[in-house]
């Protein structure tokens, strides 16, 4: 069956349908990762987006429950060059097309993804529609131009009610902006006792739980919509060790007076080299962000830039000058992607432990 991707600029790409048989609208973005399609598709940060894989062949090793990054992915569609005919892996439980069908996510294969990616690189991110017909393409394109596709998205992906992820050691409150399971896995690996709160949690609610630290998760959409959350952070950082990841990093920056901006086509993939300024050490990082912190907006009295992307200089890490609080734009939890910066979770643990010992001293 033929299926079409119609972009807001009026261009139409046709290919073969796979996955669910539905029409959807989303922001079209691309990732350059060569593995990890399942983790990417289940990453909530892709909510309301249509994801283009530059790797020409996906689905090769199927899908397994163990590699979900969220149980209810909010991605709007998958565009690729080809889906493997006969996936094979010892852990495989289902195939990618069947998995997408179950989740009501449509896919298109057979598209010249390289041409599409070049368009996104040159024009910047575009809105698009996955459609079963291209007859009204012009009409659809003009509708897309008017549409706000990712507005209020966090309210849909964030948990509605708090829930615990039990552990034995440190008590960590996790603010869910659209959390990836791998963050919880990293905390569980370190035996943290976590309570996950909705993004609407107030400072009072957080502090009432008497946690040892607070982690701000990743999430989709425009960080500047997170006004209340940034007010919460503003208060909480004065009292508790705090670690922000991706959206959490942006909210942390906003809380401390910085501004964010929408990037032309974002960073999505996991070959982005990031330099830690203090040591000069470079690690490869897993990234998925369409917004970034504006360097000019940073108040150097309270924030220190700790990490930058080697190639384009994007701010990738911040640290508070007075409080034990830091954040990174990339995913130290990787998944998919390299584990080079995994030790940031240990830094967070150390920060918590140090504060605890100071309190008890």
């Amino acid at each position: 069956m033929l299926r079409y991707l119609i972009l807001e600029d009026g261009s139409v790409y046709s290919g073969e349908a796979f996955g669910a048989d539905t029409e959807t609208i989303g922001e079209v973005v691309f990732t350059t990762g060569m593995t990890g399609y399942q983790e990417a598709i289940t990453d909530q940060s892709y909510a309301d987006q249509i994801l283009v894989f530059t790797n020409p062949l996906i689905g090769n090793y199927g899908v397994t429950l163990a590699d979900y990054e969220s149980l209810e992915p909010q991605i709007k569609g998958v565009i690729c060059h080809q889906v493997a005919r006969r996936p094979d892996n010892w852990r495989m439980q289902t195939t990618l097309p069947d998995f997408l069908k179950q989740l009501s996510i449509p896919g298109i294969q057979g598209i010249d993804t390289r041409a599409l990616v070049k368009k996104l690189r040159i024009h910047g991110t575009l809105r698009g529609k996955i459609a079963n017909s291209k007859e009204e393409a012009a009409q659809i394109a003009s509708e897309l131009q008017q549409k706000q596709v990712t507005q209020g998205v966090i309210s849909r992906v964030s948990t509605k009610t708090p829930y615990p992820v039990p552990g034995a050691k440190r008590n960590v409150v996790v603010i869910d902006f659209g959390i990836k399971h791998s963050i919880l896995r990293e905390l569980a690996k370190r035996d943290c006792n976590c309570i996950v709160l909705p993004y609407t949690a107030t400072a009072k609610e957080v502090l009432a739980l008497h946690p040892d630290g607070v982690l701000l998760s990743n999430g989709p959409g425009d960080p500047e919509e997170m006004v209340a959350a940034s007010q919460m952070v503003c208060e909480v950082e004065q009292h508790l060790p705090l670690f922000g990841i991706c959206m959490g990093h942006q909210v942390f920056a906003l809380a401390n007076g910085a501004k964010t901006y929408k990037m032309k086509f974002g960073h999505r993939g996991f070959n982005h080299p990031v330099r830690e300024i203090a040591t000069g050490q470079i690690g490869f990082t897993s990234q998925n962000h369409g917004y970034a912190v504006d360097p000019a907006s940073i108040n150097r009295d309270n924030l220190l830039v700790t990490h930058v992307e080697v190639n384009d200089g994007t701010i990738e890490g911040l640290r508070h000058k007075k409080y034990p609080a830091f954040s990174v734009q990339f995913h130290p939890d990787a998944t998919p992607g390299p584990h080079d910066e995994e030790s940031l979770f240990d830094d967070f643990m150390q920060m918590i432990d140090q504060r605890k010992s100071e309190l008890h001293a």
Binding site: D112, G269, F284, N311
Partner: protein, 1062 residues
């Protein structure tokens, strides 16, 4: 860190002659390294013994020494040049071993010379199996249970302890030489013994086999600042058990989930950091297909064949970056030369699929053991790029230039089911075709997986293509199926075959339906950043990224995979052709399929198309580029074979016209020319039936030379001495006789020589005559040769010059051509004309200073020789004498007869130059690893008809202090002439006796074997067995008395006369 300022002069060690396991990739890496170092302002001194390389061009390094890679010779150069440092990690295992040997000799400490890049201790830690195992254990990285042994008994004891199957890996040998998988006690005893003998340190690693695991390779880089990254991950189609150099390989990894990939990536980075590698490094890992268990197979602490492949697969120039790291620069300060905007600290992202298939020499060696294992047997490889795995695989098959043009093989088709299953279980070079055949016969994926252990994902690629064959066949001329077929890489030729049409008809339909390939860029970053790399591959997709530039362009066709008979020499000529075109202001466009070479470095040409060298693919590029024309003279037989087809499709062939190329290659037309010009040639006849061949041979009288028409490198050519031998020949080549005529020539026993000539239609320049050292009968590629000639009178040289000029003009040669002559009794006979550059071009260019391929290119483009400052005739001969010696890879290829004949067998060559012939010979022998002790033992095993001729040779050996060993007949003959001879018994006599010929060899008592028993070609014949034993024992072996004579000349030169007064 910025580059180091405390060093100024750097010596780079090359990798020497091309052998299996060490091929053109080191010309590529060495060239890149030299250029990178010079780019940073260092003075570069290069040493390499292989003249057929770009890296030994004087434009690549400040000083180039074409000298043997021996400690003595390199030390002499060091004492002359006083380099501040040596860069050893870019010249393969040879370069690395040379650096280790130099360090051990003390000269580096004495002269305070530093080794750049990875430190010696790290290299040893990576290469010494025991130390490496310790390191892995310290890091918690799993390695298969293993033990280093120094004796066969220890090997057997350990084998019994851990159980079979077991792998034997000899220490410090390249390409896994001497290793193998053993399934039982007896096999282990045999392989361990051989491995211990081949290891320079008499050590083998005995290891539990993990055959059946997925084999994954990572190309890793690290700098002195501990920045480390993955350039490329490659996954073998064939599971562990087949050497990665003999495996079909895909990139990026195809069947690894992110968890598995990241786990193995972490392991690779831990290893490279622990080893403190500074530069490039290759990590080989094995992953259990049914769990997260993995094992470290090995680490190569240097740039390797895999890194050349990875560079071409990703666009990331590993060797160049490694050289910069070696002088202290770090990855985050070196710009990524591909994008120009990002830094070298960047893990490439691919948006295409790459497939590599090895090219094996079994078409040349039909009797060789073709079973693949831990010892590499391929001489070269091809790479293909596509947007589907199927497309990449099919394009790679099309690039191989073998009889099979797609997944259909007549041999596989005719095999019985049991033969087919045998082929699947015990992988040979042609397994891919048997896999396809199995699916054609209805075998299920499960059944084939059971037999091969190949992953279902990979098997399905083949199965899918077989299904498609049937779909295509069922729908002739259907544009939809045609579109699908092209997407999955079916060639016009294959589709035509399935439709019972001609390829032109398919092409016509394709063009009519606008089904044209597009060209996509290889940019390291999957289009995330803007790049302007002029490096493209074709695919059937929508957007084309390669556009005609508006400049006048010329397409140069490369020579495809390295194989016996068509080696790196042709890549050399291709690169020089490109350089000349660029100097003349043309846009030079290269098409080639070989990932190992310099010509496929995208920074060499103005545009590189990485494509199969088939008519379809070259025509497609020409359709897009609309070049002034195509140059076919430098890519060996590969490009010449394309000329007629290109012309028939309206593409202009530059230089010698296609009509004239045909006149040179067509026997009858050529005979006419010879007659018209009144030249001599050995009498020859052509026949198309068995009876006709025999009648022709009888008419000419034995011995005769027989061969099929249109051959390369003497393929299937033999000297036949009797009717019985001829019958056998015809039996072996039955298929050839039916399809093509067989040529029968009178065999002339004389001196052979090679002449390359450049002609503009008026002036004919002969840069030089190369005289062969062996008599006619040994293939020109396998004979030693000397320039200038040592035995030709001026009169003979004049005759050669005159005949060459006549031929060049009569054939309307415009560009370059090669003629082979036999000189007998002062007469000059023409044996063969090749209307193209030959393998002697780099050698002669280097010693005469005439850049032959460049001069010829200028001629092709219309610039006369006189305009270029050259005149008619033989160029003046220099003072220096240069000798070329062939180098063989027999130790990697079981069951290949090492007796030299008219069929080419060598894989590479070395050069030695000096002021006297004897010294030049000495250097050539040294370069070819035939450095002999001052006195030693020589074993003479001689065919009866050579007995008279051996006497002077034996006497000369005796005079310089060599003890002579011979079997009864020869011994008695020599004793009659007052020579002291030690008697050895024949192969099958007194097999336990110390005096048995094989035991003498095994015991290491023999330093040199002269064996002329050329008729003993059967595997159980004495002559064959003795030769095999010599090869196995690494004892220098000569099969022609002329070579023995030359060797004696070189040995006599360094020895004192010992004569009594009375």
């Amino acid at each position: 860190m910025p580059k180091r300022k405390d060093i100024h002069k750097i010596m780079v060690i090359g990798s020497g002659p091309i052998i299996i396991g060490q091929a053109a990739e080191f010309d590529y890496s060495g060239t890149q390294a030299c250029l990178a170092l010079r780019e940073e302002g260092y003075e570069v001194v290069l040493v390499n013994s292989n003249p057929a390389t770009i890296m030994t061009d004087t434009t690549i390094a400040d000083k180039v020494y074409l000298e043997p890679l021996t400690v003595d010779s390199v030390s002499r150069i060091i004492r002359q040049e006083y380099p501040d440092a040596i860069l050893p990690t870019l010249g393969g295992q040879v370069g690395l071993n040379m650096a280790l040997a130099l360090a051990k000799s003390g000269i580096l400490d004495e002269l305070h010379i530093e080794l750049l890049g990875t430190k010696l201790a790290s290299i040893e830690q990576a290469e010494d199996r025991e130390k490496f195992k310790e390191l892995c254990q310290k890091l918690g990285e799993p390695v298969p249970p293993s033990k280093t042994v120094k004796t066969v008994d220890d090997a057997l004891a350990f084998g019994d302890e851990i159980g079979y199957p077991i792998i034997v890996r000899p220490a410090f040998t390249m390409g896994g030489t001497g290793g193998g998988i053993c399934h039982n006690h007896d096999e282990l005893a045999a392989i361990a013994k051989n491995g211990l003998e081949l290891s320079p340190v008499t050590e083998c690693l005995i290891e539990k086999s993990i055959a059946g695991y997925k084999e994954i390779e990572f190309e890793v880089m690290r700098d002195s600042n501990d920045n480390a990254m993955i350039v490329c991950c490659m996954e073998n189609f064939d599971p562990v058990g087949i050497h990665t150099g003999d495996s079909i390989v895909f990139s990026p990894s195809q069947t690894l989930s992110d968890k598995e990939y990241q786990m193995l990536r972490d392991c690779s980075l831990r290893l490279i950091r622990a080893l403190k590698i500074e530069g490039g490094c290759n990590v080989q890992l094995a992953l259990d297909p049914n769990s997260f268990e993995y094992d470290v197979i090995e680490v190569n602490p240097r740039v390797s064949r895999s890194s050349a492949l990875a560079s071409k697969a990703t666009g990331y120039p590993i060797a160049k970056m490694a050289a910069k790291i070696a002088v202290g620069m770090t990855l985050d300060e070196i710009k990524n030369p591909v994008t120009g905007t990002t830094y070298a600290e960047f893990e490439p992202a691919l948006d295409y699929v790459v497939c590599k298939i090895p090219r094996w020499p079994f078409d040349k060696f039909p009797k060789a053991d073709r079973i693949l294992g831990t010892q590499m047997k391929a001489t070269g490889e091809v790479m293909a790029i596509g947007r589907t795995a199927e497309e990449a695989l099919q394009k790679a098959v099309q690039s191989l230039e073998i009889d099979e043009k797609d997944l259909f093989s007549p041999a596989a088709h005719q095999a019985s089911d049991s033969q087919l299953e045998e082929k699947l279980v015990k992988a040979q070079d042609d397994r891919l075709f048997y896999l396809a055949e199995a699916f054609r016969r209805g075998y299920s994926l499960e059944e084939v997986h059971e037999l091969t252990k190949i992953n279902f994902y990979f098997l399905d690629i083949v199965s899918h293509l077989v299904e498609m064959e049937q779909e295509i066949a069922a729908q002739p001329n259907d544009p939809d199926i045609l579109k699908l077929a092209k997407k999955y890489g079916f060639s016009d030729q294959t589709i035509a075959h399935l439709w019972h049409e001609s390829a032109d008809q398919v092409r016509e339909l394709r063009k009519q339906k606008q089904l044209l390939p597009v060209y996509k860029m290889v940019d390291t970053c999957a289009a995330e950043f803007e790049s302007s790399t002029p490096y493209f591959y074709s695919t059937y997709d929508s957007e084309n990224e390669s556009h005609k530039s508006g400049r006048k362009s010329v397409v140069v066709i490369g020579s495809g995979p390295i194989r016996i008979g068509q080696g790196v020499e042709f890549d050399y000529a291709t690169v020089h052709c490109v350089k000349a075109l660029q100097k003349m202001g043309y846009e030079a466009i290269v098409i080639n399929s070989n990932p190992e070479t310099v010509s496929t470095d995208f920074s060499i040409s103005d545009k590189l198309y990485f494509e199969p060298l088939t008519l379809e693919d070259v025509l497609n590029v020409c359709d897009l580029e609309q070049p002034e024309g195509v140059i076919v003279q430098f890519g060996g037989q590969t490009s010449i074979n394309l000329a007629a087809g290109l012309k028939a499709h309206g593409v202009k062939i530059l230089g010698t016209r296609v009509k004239d190329l045909d006149r040179a290659e067509d026997r009858e037309e050529f005979d006419q020319i010879i007659k018209q010009l009144g030249l001599r040639q050995p009498q020859g006849l052509t026949a198309t039936t068995h009876e006709g061949v025999i009648a022709a041979a009888e008419k000419l009288g034995y011995p005769v030379l027989v061969r099929p028409s249109y051959v390369l490198g003497g393929k299937a050519m033999e000297i036949v001495y009797s009717k019985a031998e001829l019958e056998e020949y015809l039996h072996d080549h039955a298929d050839i006789a039916e399809d093509h005529p067989i040529l029968i020539d009178d065999y002339l026993d004389g001196r052979e020589c090679d002449v390359d000539a450049i002609s503009d239609g008026q002036t004919v320049l002969l840069p030089g005559i190369m005289e062969h050292i062996e008599h006619a009968g040994v293939h020109s590629g396998d004979s030693m040769a000397v320039y200038p000639p040592q035995t030709f009178s001026d009169e003979v040289k004049d005759k050669i010059t005159e005949v060459t000029k006549k031929l060049a003009l009569a054939l309307n040669c415009k560009g370059i051509m090669n003629i082979q002559f036999i000189v007998r009794d002062g007469e000059v006979y023409v044996i063969e004309v090749n209307p193209r550059a030959s393998r002697t071009v780099p050698f002669l260019s280097k010693i005469t200073g005439i850049e032959m391929a460049q001069v010829a290119t200028r001629v092709i483009m219309g610039e006369d020789l006189t305009q270029q400052g050259y005149s008619d005739g033989l160029a003046p001969e220099p003072e220096m004498i240069s000798v070329k010696a062939p180098v063989f890879s027999f130790s990697k290829l079981a069951d290949v007869d090492s007796y030299l004949g008219p069929e080419m067998k060598s894989t590479g060559e070395v050069m030695g130059s000096d002021h006297t012939f004897a010294k030049a010979l000495y250097k050539a022998f040294a370069g070819a690893k035939m450095q002999l002790p001052e006195n030693g033992n020589v074993l003479l095993t001689i065919e009866d008809r050579d007995k008279e001729n051996i006497l002077p040779i034996a006497k000369r050996f005796a005079r310089i202090g060599y003890r002579i060993f011979a079997t009864k007949g020869t011994a008695e003959f020599l004793r009659q002439h007052d020579l002291h001879v030690d008697l050895v018994t024949k192969v099958h006599k007194d097999e336990d006796s110390e005096q048995n010929i094989l035991n003498e060899l095994r015991a290491g008592r023999i330093d040199l074997v002269v064996n002329t028993m050329g008729h003993d070609v059967e595997k159980n014949s004495d002559g064959f067995i003795i030769r095999q034993m010599a090869i196995q024992q690494n004892v220098p072996l000569l099969t022609a008395l002329d070579t023995a004579d030359a060797l004696l000349k070189s040995l006599e030169n360094r020895s004192f006369a010992t004569e009594s007064l009375a």
